[in-house]
């Protein structure tokens, strides 16, 4: 949008165009790579790809909350849980047997319907949790969301008649493609492609929001909430929107997770899972969409691949993440792949270290 305004000489403009072409070519290559990669790796690596994809969705959503709007949500994983449980419960695998759950129709369409329903469900839950808490200032918000995250987990752990409590819900059905009747089963590859589609959709939605007045409002809130309010930004509503978008993204990831592992239990949703996603967002670059994806890859992918070769390194996983968080805040708060605005700033300062654009 603001690229329409040229304030610099023609050379720089030409360079920008050239760079954009390189970036686009890189993106096409990367996408292509992501599409074909599962066919060249082992089964275990395919499972890891699915894990990375799920995490990328989570990071994408949390990036809206933390990166754009600057709201530290430490209970983010709760929305992942509500997504997973929505499908777990309504699929009929849990203690509650909804009347429609046994039908052929539900076996074919249920998953896809829930994938949409969870958007509404999580939007509601996000708004419900958000509207009282988002009035709070930053650090209070962090601890209150942490509390809410734990409450969701403990409630799931104790509502025997709804969530199956600690035993969780097992035998959650796999998705089926209606009409042609293709069953995803346990094979990781179809889940990977489904997640890839969801990721692309998420990226498009969030990029467009970022480039609208809503995105500007989020950044304004992150930068200076009082000033944003004074400039006519309805801060509470915008924060709620960010919260809700984060919640829905996590919810979608949760639905896929539940159907992939055909099992959910509260143990998957503790506070450290929230920290993990946060770490991905911070490492990649707060407010940067490619950054969150790269962060998810580094935080989940790298350790998992390493674990295939060096299982003993797992001991150091969270320890390393701790160092990463502190070091990033001190030395590189903009992350591995800084958001566009930051990048522009660095470029203007003549910083040669413009990171991670595909030069190849």
């Amino acid at each position: 949008m603001n690229t329409a305004v040229s304030t610099d000489g023609g050379t720089r403009n030409g360079n920008a165009r050239q760079r954009r072409m390189v970036v686009n070519a890189g993106l096409v290559l990367l996408t292509l790579f992501c599409v074909v990669i599962p066919h060249f790796v082992s089964l275990a690596a395919q499972e890891i790809l699915v894990l990375i994809a799920i995490f990328s969705l989570l990071a994408l959503g949390l990036n809206v909350v933390v990166g754009f709007a600057g709201l530290l949500d430490l209970g983010y994983i709760a929305f992942y849980a509500t997504g997973a449980y929505t499908w777990g419960i309504l699929s009929g695998a849990g203690p509650i047997k909804p009347p429609f759950a046994g039908t052929d129709f539900w076996a074919e369409w249920g998953f896809w319907i829930i994938l949409l329903v969870v958007l509404a469900v999580n939007m509601c839950i996000g708004t419900m949790l958000g509207s009282p808490t988002l009035r709070l200032r930053g650090d209070y918000l962090a601890i209150v969301t942490l509390g809410f995250g734990e409450i969701v987990r403990i409630v799931a752990n104790n509502l025997d008649g709804v969530t199956g409590a600690a035993l969780g819900i097992s035998r959650i059905p796999h998705p089926r493609i209606p009409i042609i009747g293709y069953d995803f089963g346990l094979d990781p590859v179809p889940y990977y492609y489904l997640l890839l589609l969801l990721l692309v959709a998420g990226i498009i939605v969030i990029t467009r929001l970022d480039h609208s007045r809503i995105g500007r409002a989020w950044i304004a809130i992150r930068e200076d909430e009082v000033a944003a309010e004074a400039m006519g930004v309805p801060t509470l509503r915008m924060k709620l929107l960010a919260f809700a978008i984060g919640a829905t993204t996590a919810g979608v990831a949760g639905v896929v997770f539940a159907s992939k592992s055909n099992f959910v239990s509260p143990a998957s949703f503790d506070v450290f899972a929230s920290f993990l996603v946060l770490c991905a967002v911070v490492l990649g670059g707060m407010g940067s969409i490619p950054g969150s994806l790269a962060g998810a890859f580094v935080i989940v992918g790298v350790p998992s691949f390493l674990q295939l070769r060096f299982p003993e390194l797992d001991e150091y996983r969270y320890w390393t993440f701790g160092i990463i968080l502190v070091a990033m805040m001190i030395f590189r708060p903009q992350g591995l792949i800084p958001s566009k605005r930051r990048e522009a700033e660095l470029a203007l300062e003549g910083d040669p270290d413009i990171p991670a654009e595909p030069a190849a």
Binding site: Y140, E315, G322
Partner: protein, 323 residues
């Protein structure tokens, strides 16, 4: 009326006070640092954990192979263990401030950066201990036998007490933890209100910019604040490890979150409030566990936190707006 509010109430109060005293001691550190920096030191819970670890390491070295021979020997060992526990706490707190916070302060980083840095530091510290000491609880050798010192159902005048009160049993550790928490609160309160450094802390807490202009060395004040918070957390860690006879890399997390809740409940930035908040939270939790079941204990604590922040953000004794 349910039992938890009638016949069980007296002994649930007693139990809650003993739990709450530990919260109170940790909460003092949160409140102090918050007062000065307006920063929640998320890693404070790990300072507490390190205090417990320091106590464990000393006690397990000092207790002879056959166990302690007398109560006096046990007391001496505990007192000796207090030194490394408290020092480790203070040291860890200062290190935290230097490594995780000061560089951020220097470049005037946004609040979010502090929080993330704090979470990182917390993960680092607890997992360092995990890598070093392993994932399991480590058991402290016995020093002072924990025992019931006051059983209201079994004293000379028991007959005249109502039946519900007769069920109160007080252990020696309850009394010790409670007394130490009180003493710590009074000492800190006096220090802040009477000493020169304390005045500096108050000045920075009220308006750091003006305090800086008036010649207060802000960095020094902040360091001192962290040291005091760390000493208290270290002492709390010692008491905790001794009370429950164990330590582990993760013991800090839950008491840390609870203590923060206590600090908010009492009024963040308020020293007496931290004590009040800690004790109240302990009591609420314990009574609620009786009313709704033990598994809902933490939920009640978190709900209290949310409700306080929503309806009385200044806490019970605070004057500072939390929102």
């Amino acid at each position: 009326m349910p039992d938890c509010l009638t016949s069980e109430l007296p002994f649930r109060l007693a139990g809650g006070l003993s739990t709450g005293a530990v919260y109170a001691m940790i909460a003092l550190g949160y409140t102090l640092v918050y007062g000065v920096l307006q920063l929640i030191n998320f890693a404070h819970s790990e300072v507490f954990m390190l205090g417990a670890l320091g106590a464990f390491l000393t006690v397990s070295r000092l207790v002879p192979d056959g166990g302690v021979t007398s109560e006096a020997q046990g007391i001496l060992i505990l007192l000796a263990a207090a030194v490394p526990a408290v020092l480790l706490g203070g040291l860890a707190a200062v290190a935290l401030e230097r490594v995780a916070y000061r560089p951020l302060r220097r470049r005037n980083a946004p609040r979010l950066a502090y929080l993330i840095s704090a979470i990182g530091a917390s993960l680092f510290l607890s997992n360092s201990v995990r890598i070093w000491r392993g994932p399991n609880f480590e058991t402290l050798p016995r020093t002072i036998q924990s025992r019931i010192v006051l059983d209201l159902g079994n004293t000379f005048f028991s007959g005249i007490l109502p039946e519900s009160v007769q069920r109160v049993r007080i252990q020696n550790r309850d009394i010790i933890v409670f007394l130490v928490a009180m003493a710590a609160m009074i000492a800190v309160d006096q220090f802040i209100n009477r000493s020169r450094t304390g005045r500096g802390i108050r000045a920075v807490a009220q308006d750091s910019e003006t305090a800086g202009l008036m010649g207060v060395n802000i960095n020094k004040v902040i360091t001192v604040t962290f040291i005091i918070g760390g000493l208290l957390a270290g002492a709390a860690g010692l008491l905790f490890a001794w009370s429950f006879g164990v330590t582990r890399f993760q013991i800090g997390f839950l008491p840390g979150v609870k203590a923060f809740t206590a600090a908010v409940l009492g009024g963040i930035g308020n020293i007496r409030g931290a004590l009040l908040g800690g004790l109240l939270l302990g009591v609420f939790e314990n009574v609620a566990a009786g009313c709704f079941g033990v598994q809902w204990r933490d939920v009640v604590a978190f709900l209290i936190l949310v409700l306080v922040l929503l309806f009385r953000p200044t806490g019970l004794m605070g004057d500072r707006e939390a929102t």
